[in-house]
Every structure is written in structure tokens, then in C-alpha cells.
Symmetry: D2
Subunit: 256 residues, 4 copies
């Protein structure tokens, strides 16, 4: 069976681009997203049209047992998961403390922290049996600095970063490469930034900062670094790296 790259959070941005890149390099891309069957089908069709192998799954990660079941299903029916990208964020825009309901705060944790924990529990034993594997985690600036209005997001991402370090400390020597990829800037992603801003504002931003002057991070370019990290020789693994556009200041140099 073909080795699998499982993408949790495969929208038309980082997730989809990473899936496509791995498919180009010979992996089966197993793409999961919460909704939009049509978008999912299109991504699978695009990969297949280019000669690659892919499959799509609608997945509500917060549902009890859903991640665990999907991992089992893919391992049984598709192939061994060699690389998994955890690409779920928990950004809900800026919400004051007063406006952040308990349920919202909990949901952020369920998606961004607990989801990764459950994924690791499901897939690491399988990877370990096979001698290794790779877990790529898309992260955000909120994992390293809190901010006004970011109570839910920062708590979820900060916890996740410490979880990644814990997973790495326990599993690196057993052959599992955990990489925490700090995406520090706006990504040219219709399914996340695009939906957050709405089509008109998103196109305006793209024109102002994107396309010609590369002010938005291009997901197909990010995918090349994700792929490189997953291919690093085990004597030289990267656990953490940042990514931002040349025209952007680093998070420690600009206001949020």
C-alpha cells in the first residue's frame, strides 16, 4: 500500500497545498475537513487529474472518537500514515474577555489542543511500530504571545506548543519527528482569511499586499518547506521554525 500523508484541516490554503505537494511526491493524500463536500471533491479530483492519489473525508474532529476512527480507517483501507499534518486553528477573531463565552473558550481548546492530543494518541503507536513517522503542526503567533482579544486562541495555541514539545521529547528518539511550524503572517487562503474578511475585502487585500509583491504568504510555497521538514534526515531534524513574508515584520517587531 502507498504511504499516506493525512491532512487534518484541508482547506484551500495550507492544508490543501500540503496535500497536493505530498501527492506530487508520491504519497496518497488523505484530506479531511469539517464541511464542504464539493470543495473536498474538487481537491481530490485536482490531485488525481495531475496523476496523484488522494481521498477526501468530512471530519468533525471534536466529535468523540472521530479522529481515532478516521486514523483506523485510513490505516486499514488506504495505507500507513507516514506523515500527518495537523492544520486546525482556533482563531475566532478578536473577542474581549466579556465576549468570549465559556463554550467558545472550551471549543478552541477542543479543536486546537485536545484534537492534537487525541491524534497523537491514535497515530503515534502505529508510527512507532513501523519505526517512525512525521507530525507537522501548523501554528500561529498566538502560540508564543498572548494578546487582547486572543484569550481563547492564545490559550489553545500556547497549550498546543507545549504539547508539541512534550510529544517531541517523548517520541523523537523513537523515530517520530514532531515539527511546530509558526506561521507568523497572513496566508493567501480563500477558505480561512478569505472567509474571515469576505470576498470583497479579501480581493482588496490580495491586490494590495499579495500576488505581485508577495505580501501574503503563498500556501503552495509554504508547502515546499513543510515537505522539506518532513524529509529531513533523522540526524538533523527541525522541531520549530517560523514562516513569514519578506515584507512583514516578525511578531516581536510589530503590534498584533
Amino acid at each position: 500500500m502507498q504511504k499516506v500523508c493525512l491532512v487534518i484541516g484541508a482547506g484551500a490554503g495550507i492544508g490543501g497545498s500540503v496535500g497536493k505537494k505530498f501527492a506530487q511526491e508520491g504519497y496518497h493524500a488523505a484530506l479531511c475537513r469539517r464541511s464542504d463536500q464539493q470543495g473536498l471533491d474538487n481537491m481530490v479530483a485536482d490531485i488525481e487529474a495531475a496523476g496523484g492519489s488522494a481521498s477526501g473525508y468530512l471530519l468533525n474532529t471534536v466529535k468523540e472518537g472521530a479522529i481515532e476512527k478516521l486514523v483506523a480507517e485510513i490505516e486499514e483501507n488506504v495505507g500507513p500514515i507516514e506523515t500527518v499534518l495537523f492544520n486546525l486553528g482556533a482563531q475566532i477573531g478578536n473577542r474581549s474577555l466579556a465576549d468570549t463565552e465559556l463554550k467558545i473558550f472550551e471549543l478552541g481548546w477542543q479543536i486546537a489542543t485536545f484534537g492534537l492530543f487525541r491524534l497523537a494518541k491514535a497515530v503515534f503507536p502505529l508510527m512507532e511500530q513501523r519505526g517512525g513517522g512525521t507530525l507537522l503542526v501548523t501554528s500561529a503567533t498566538s502560540a508564543v504571545r498572548g494578546n487582547a482579544g486572543q484569550h481563547s486562541h492564545a490559550a489553545a495555541m500556547g497549550g498546543r506548543r507545549m504539547l508539541c514539545q512534550s510529544l517531541n521529547a517523548e517520541y523523537a528518539s523513537r523515530g517520530i519527528h514532531v515539527a511546530h511550524i509558526l506561521v507568523d503572517g497572513a496566508v493567501d487562503a480563500p477558505d480561512t482569511l478569505g472567509k474571515l474578511l469576505g470576498p470583497a475585502l479579501f480581493e482588496q487585500l490580495r491586490e494590495e499586499r499579495g500576488r505581485d509583491n508577495d505580501g501574503l504568504m503563498l500556501p503552495e510555497k509554504m508547502a515546499e518547506t513543510y515537505y522539506h521538514i518532513a524529509q529531513q534526515h533523522r540526524s538533523v531534524w527541525t522541531h520549530e521554525l517560523d514562516l513569514r513574508s519578506f515584507s512583514d515584520l516578525a511578531w516581536w517587531n510589530h503590534a498584533p
Copy 2:
């Protein structure tokens, strides 16, 4: 009514010592802990015997509405909460990923991250109305580095640290001082370290490292720094500081 220092997590260690210190300085110490009514009564009695004012509450923080109800009750019946110490940890010893059940991971978050979020939501609006207040948060090394066996603890504490930064960013200018106090070492605390080790080992450790050579952190000495931080003039607030014994290496210099 007397100004109140509310201590969430008032065992015979940091929490109890901070309560005692604030009581000596003229605050009413409202002491909360999950169990041990007798221990709680003794702490209150000790403070009162020394001429201070205190009250004790058994509090299961993970119970829905419990923190919120307690805050309301104290504000109504005891006095305005000027300082609150959130002193709950989520250390469960070293547990491998395999041995960390989903429920345990969730509980760590509920106690150490969600509990602080709920507390802030309950008490910050009241503090803000009065022009200010102080939130002291006892933190641990796991808030800044993950480690093997620390999946639950590190995720909970790392999330909490980012939450503290978020609360600080939103509320400092409104007069609420949030301090994240990184306790980087073993505390001479019978109720936490003592119970973790058992009485025999704890006494042995105390003899080897504590008492005479100050190798264990003395909670009554820590309380002096907690109190100092809470009294800092608003033009010079500390948001984060570390504390460790002179004989201990900093976390970045020693293996966990």
C-alpha cells in the same frame, strides 16, 4: 468592608503562606481548597490567632458555576476582592502519552487553564468597576517547556501562560495587574510535594535539601515576593518573574 485577598488553592504551601502574609498586612484572607475541612479550619484559626481576619471555603473549581458563585458570595458577604491568587496546578507526575487518558488531559485543562479563565471572567469586571485589582498566578516550568511525560501538565500550563499574557494585554491599562510567577523548583510544601512523595521520602528530601541549606523553596519566603508584586506601584508592574532556590539550576540549565 475589609479588602479581600482570595486564594484559590490554599494548601499548606504557597497558597496558605500567601494568605497568611496578606492577612498580616491587613487583608481578609479568603482561603479555598478542594478538600480537608480540618486543614482549612486550622489555617483560618492560625490567622485569627495572630490577629488577622480569614475565612475558609471548600471549593471544587471544576464544578460548573462554582468559581463564579464563590466570587459573588465573597464580594457580597466578605468584602471586595482586591487581590486573587490562582494557585492551582495540574501536575500529575510523569505519565507517558499512552498512560495519559483523555479524561486526565481534559481535567488538567479544566483545573489549570479553564479555571483561570472563569475566575478572570467572574472577578475582572468587579475589579475594573473599582478601578483595579491584582491577579497573581502561580506557574511552573511546564509553562515554558514541554517534556516527556508532561503532556497534560505542559499543555495546561502553556495555555495558561498565554492566557495570562492575553488578560494582561486587555486589562493592565484598566488597572488590573496580572502577574505570572514561574516557580522553578521544589517547594517545601507538605500538601503538594509532601503528598506526592509520601511522608518518609518528603522528610528525607527536606533533610537533604531543605531546612538548613535552603534547597527547597520556603513558601513563607515566596509569600513575601508575592506580596511585593501585588503592592508594586502601577507605573512599575512586573508581569513575569521566576523563583528558584539559590542551590538549584534554572530550568534552561538542568534536565527535568
Copy 3:
């Protein structure tokens, strides 16, 4: 002989205020600054008028042997240096890479990094013989983040922070407390900020942000925390803490 608090960099800001505070608490304050004999004499006179003990020294720290000679002289003629505050910065305002001459870059290092190294070499052996001592180091945001125009300053302060960690790792267990105090904001200091801005702008800033609304950090209030740190019990030492006004955002939340 009276125990001495030596202040390297004793202008009318942090340095002078710390000297005054320690003098109030019974130390002899040995105040050093590079120039302004009159200002120095006034500070000594003020301390003595308040019943304290002080002496003043003009000191060019970059001169070969100057720090070493001063330490020896104070130890012989005044008393044992129990606490030393290294309060020299190397801020030269924003200078582009092109405008930062080699000499300027070197001078920044000589003052802010090499000066501290020489001081530690001179005073630590004496402190160690006596069983301990305290080194307080005033630091700045540039020690934890570089920035455009800050090539010289950031390199000097970043090196200094790592030096402080190294000194702490080697000397804490021998009784010497090294504290790195991250001053993250504008200080109401006529001799530094005042000279940088000029009298008119400085008064304007003071009126806008300072005095009534505590938007500038008040050095006499900072001195209280400096003193507290120097008095911490050896079982609970702080190595690093930050200080900023309540109305200011933390460095990780605002643009430089």
C-alpha cells in the same frame, strides 16, 4: 565597616534612586557615573542630608582597569560590596546599519557587555569569600528582541543577558544572586530620557504620560522592587523579571 551598595551608572533615574533606597535601608551607597561632578555631589549630599551614608565617583568604565581599581578602592576604604547595580545602557537611539560605525558598535559592547564581565570578574571572588552577594543588572527590551536601528544596542544587551545567565549558573550555588531586570518602557529619568529628548520634549512627555497618570516609570518606585529582589531569601531568588507601566503594552504586544 558598613555594607556597600555600589551603583555603576548613578544618574538621576534608576541608578540614583536605587542608591538612595539602599542608603535609606542602611547601606553605604557608592555612586559612580561617567561625568557631572556637581550632579554626583548633589546626590551624595541629598543622601547624607537624609541621614544616610554615600560617596561619589566619576568613572569611565571603558578605561582599562578602571572598574577593577574602583572595586578594590571601595573594598579597602569604604566597606564590603554586598550589592552592586550595573545600570549602564548602550542605547544610542535608532541608527541604520549604514549609520552604525564600527567604533559605535564596539563601544556599545564595551560599555554594556564587557563592562559587566569585568565587574563580575572583579567583585565575584570577593563576594564568594564572604559567602555571597547580589548583582542587579538593569536591562532593556533590546536584550530579548532585535529591531531595525538597534544593531549596536541589541547585540550588546542580548550578549549581556546570556552573560547574566552564565554568571547565575556558575555563581548562584556559591551564594551570589544575579538578577536581570528587564525595564520595558520609558523611565521618568532626566539624565537619560531627558537628555535624549531635550528639556522641552521631555517636559511635554512627562505632562502627557507621566506624573498624574503614571505612564512613565517612576524610578523611586522601581527602586523598591530592586531592593526587594536584593533582599529575597536565598531559597527563593528571582533571576529575571520585567517592569513596565500599567498603561504600556508589553514588548511582545507593541511595535518598537
Copy 4:
């Protein structure tokens, strides 16, 4: 003229391997090292034998004007420097404060901090005129944590890291990519680790940790990541990343 990859510090480890990799990819590799003309000639010959283009230079970087002159010479006679690797460390082994002479401390700074500053001043204006370029900086754990015996090394590397951030903040938007590569582990490098340990111990270490089990970082594998970083699309640049062997703990998880 061919685009140039200039390597400052081209021994038989990271520097040589990066030079070789860039030569394979079509760059002219300009290799500089302080001594060992024979070793240098061999490296050039090896690259040329493999069909690549290279030249070698003995360079004492601390000599006044030496870096500046070399840059000018290469730009005039060889080609435009598109990528430069600054690969000089300042590790002198563990030396107590007492055993670290002033001259040693200064030399560490001259090599590892000042040298990079001079290099940037010499080469950045040229890169900027051409629309961009890349500066890769090999860094070490000492850039992020000080330690006993590391006074000189940590001060030099910590200053260098802040300098890299400053350079990045000023020059990224002008097209110059600065990457700070944190090498957190032992490299299988005869010219550095090999000389530090001596041939017998080095071979023993290699047998125990290296070769078969990849416990030493393989420089030719590191070179692949260095090259990848230099090729990142400008919308997705990495400023900082770490590298370590899978079998090694991260610096925050192990004692130095």
C-alpha cells in the same frame, strides 16, 4: 558572472558541506577559513572534480579590514555574492569566570558578533542594490541560554542572535533574507568537534553515537536544510529554526 555562495568558516563540517551543496546547485562556492591551505585546496579540488566551481581563501576575520576586503575582491573578480554563510563559532570549551581572560572574552565577541556585523555592513549594500540576497548564520544553543563556563561563548552568541533579528527587521523588506540556524547538538565535523576531542575520542564518539545510528548531526544533511532555507520564496521566509539529531533531547530538555 556566476552567482556566489560565500562561506566564512569553511572547515570539514557544516561550512564545507554547505559550500559543496551550493556548488552542486550551480553556485560558485567561495570558501574561507583561517588556516590549513592544504585542507582548503582539497575542498576546492573536490568541488571542481565533481564539476562544480569553487575558490579558496585564507582569512583571518579579526584582522582589521579583512572581511571587507575579501567581499570586495570576490564581488570584483568572482561574481555577485547571492548567499553568504557566516559559520564562525566562538566555542572555547568550558572555562570558569576566573579562567576566562579579558582577551579571550573580547576575542569571542570579535569573531562571533563583530565579525557578523562587519560582514553585514560590507555585503548588504551590494545585495540591496541587486534586489536581494541571503545571509545564513550558524548558531548554537548558547545563543538562547547561558551556562556555567560559557561566559564568553554565550555573550558572543546571544549578542549575535539579537543582531540577526535587528538585521532582519531592517533588511527583510529590502529583499535580504537573514536566517538564524540554531544547531543544537554535536556535529560530525572533524575540523571542530574532532579537534576539540582529539582523533581517538572523536572516533570513539563517532562509533558510539554517529554513523550507524545518526546520533551526530551529519553536515551533508544539514547542508540540505541550509540550501532549502536559502531558496525559500520571499513570501515564506524562515528567520529561525533549530536542528538536532532525533536521538538528542532539545536544549530545553537536557542539561548542558
